[in-house]
Structures are given as C-alpha cells and as structure tokens.
Symmetry: C2
Subunit: 206 residues, 2 copies
C-alpha cells in the first residue's frame, strides 16, 4: 500500500498516540512495542517513524499525555475535595498512581538516550502538574515567606513521590506498611507547619 488519505497528518498522530497510550495502560512499559501500536492503528511499523521520528518520541508523547490526565485528576480532586486542599493534592497524587499504575510507572521507566532531551512542548505540558501544586502551596504560606516557593513545592512533591513510588513498586507492600499516604501527608504537614503555613486542617498526625 502507498499513500492513503484515511487520516490527515494530525489525525494520524492522534490515532497512534491514542493506541499507544491504550497499549501502555494495558501492558506496561516492559511489554510495550511499537509494532503492536502500529498494528492496532492499522498501519505498519514505518509509519511511527514517519510521524514521530523515533519510538522515543512516541513514548515521550504517551507519557506527556499521562501527565495531562494526572493534572486533570488533581484539579478534580481539588474541586471535589474538602477544605484541606493539601490533603486533596496528596490523595490525588496517590490515587492517580494507584488507578493507573502502568501508565504512572511508564513515566519513570522511560529514559531518553544519552544527550537527548524532552521537547519544549512536552516540558511545558508536563509542568502544569507542578504548577497546580505550586499554586496551592503558595496560597497557604505566609505572604512574606522567605522560601523560594517553586523550589519548595518541588521538594514537597519529591517527598510525596518517593512514598508513592515505593507503594507502586511494591517495596512497601512487603513491609506491612498500612498507610503510606498518611505518612506522606504527615511529612508534608510537618514541613508546612514549620514554615508557618495556615491550613484548614493543619495539625500533623502524631
């Protein structure tokens, strides 16, 4: 088969991305295969390279899409959650990872080859997630805080990420760890309290 007109370039990109994302959700990073994506889309291997340039670029796009879903998830958690917006965020972070463990893990399992970097577009899209958290953190810190809020928010995220990563990996499951989310939230609250944040439910657990 040669040139076709079933889809515009735009549509084809979206089709491959959608099928790729679905495959990742089903099988996970280790079993992911470009050929399988092409097959599901009704095209052949080469098309992926025509459209994305490399398999890595497709993978990056798939993971960026996961970031976008994740950001939506957090926004919803904030909207539906109660007064304690920090708790909503931490819970949202965990819930998403647990709801889509394969998609979530893929983000951290995919490493670009040495020297290659994410496109500006991917970076910008992914930064939204951090932005949401940063905004909430800024909102409850004293107006005159000496903290670099962006940096501080990233640090809090990193802390929560660590807990979450242990849960999804299974490292915690074997240790009778009952409440990793609770631990993560405790650490966040301790830190926020230390920096004079005011929160609807500020008191850290014991």
């Amino acid at each position: 088969m040669g040139r076709r007109s079933d889809h515009t370039a735009e549509e084809l990109r979206e089709l491959l991305l959608a099928k790729g994302h679905a495959l990742m959700a089903e099988t996970g990073f280790a079993a992911f295969s470009g050929r399988q994506v092409a097959r599901r889309a009704g095209y052949s291997v080469g098309t992926i390279y025509n459209v994305f340039g490399s398999l890595d670029a497709l993978l990056a796009a798939i993971n960026t899409r996961t970031f976008e879903l994740w950001a939506d998830w957090l926004r919803r958690a904030l909207a539906d959650g109660g007064e304690d917006r920090i708790a909503s965020l931490v819970r949202g972070y965990f819930d998403f990872a647990l709801a889509h463990p394969l998609l979530w893990s893929a983000i951290y399992e995919h490493r670009l080859p040495d020297g290659q970097h994410l496109s500006e577009d991917d970076l910008a899209r992914r930064a939204e997630l951090t932005g949401i958290v940063q905004q909430e953190v800024a909102a409850i810190l004293p107006a005159d805080t000496p903290l670099d809020v962006a940096r501080y928010a990233r640090s809090l995220i990193a802390g929560v990420h660590g807990h979450c990563s242990y849960v999804v990996t299974g490292s915690f499951a074997l240790l009778d760890e009952t409440d990793p989310l609770g631990s993560a939230l405790d650490r966040v609250r301790e830190s926020l309290a230390h920096h004079g944040a005011y929160n609807g439910a500020n008191a850290p657990g014991t």
Copy 2:
C-alpha cells in the same frame, strides 16, 4: 561443549553475578542482555537459566548486590562523616546514586513479572540498608517517642528517595534546581525536629 570443571557451582554463580553487575554498571538496564553476560563469562546463554532459573532472578541478584554496596557506602559515610550523622546518611544516599546512576536506576527499573516476588534471601539482604537508617533515626529520637520508628524511618527514606530520583532521572536538572540534596535534608530535619529529635546540627535550613 558439555560438562566442564572450570568452576564449581558456587564459583559459576559468582562469576555470572559479577559479570552481570559489571555489565549493568556499564550499560544500564535498558541495554542489559543476558546473552552479553554469558558471553563475558565465557559461557553460553543456557547456563544463566541453569544457574539462576530465570533472567529475572539474575537481575534481582544483581540489584541485591547493588543494595549491599550501597549499605557499605552508607556505613563508610557514617564512619567518615562528622557529628551530624543524619546529614551523613542523606549525603551518602545521594552520593551513591550519583556515583553509580545506572546501577542505582536498575534497582527501580527492574520489575518482577506479575505475581512473582523477591526471594527471602534477596529481601533480607536489601533490608540492611533500611536497618542502618532506622538505627540512626531511633538513636536521635526521644526514648519515649510515640512513633513507630521503623515506619517513620521508611517514610524519611521515601522522602529522600523522591528527591534523589528526580536528580538521577534528570527531572530536576531542567529546573535550575541547584541543591536537591539540601532540600531533602531540610525536609528530613524539619520532620525530625517536629518529633523532638536531638541532633548535633538540628536546625533546619530556612
């Protein structure tokens, strides 16, 4: 070639493990290959399956060895570090990951197939690392702390892990993050202070 007597079963296991560990350090998880390990050891593919049963078992053993090196590294950091043993631990955690990024990453990139778990032996060996931290944390908490120290220590580790993981992944590099180690240590100190720990240099950074 058939049966040989160049190595005992024990020696052969060690040989494959050593070559496998070296390969992982050189090429990282993505480019790791069982065939390559066998070639370097002067044996053929099948031998890996004879000795370890599966490639996953070899990978688990390789990563367990990394854990052991990491624990040694922390012990040395504690011995050579100053009074502030918590700082030594956090620094040690980061330094190891940065000194051996491919080995360190491999720990978290290797996922056992669904339903399979690490052997008791692997688990026990890996637990040493946590044990070292737990001991230090227990030492500076008030004797009458209501905390479950094991659980709490794991939580602190998770927090540091999150920061470190962002560094090694490169997520932080793109954000002009100058001092992730410092951030991690600040969060740990804030929490420890909150729980009444006494530390040679207790005051968290601002």
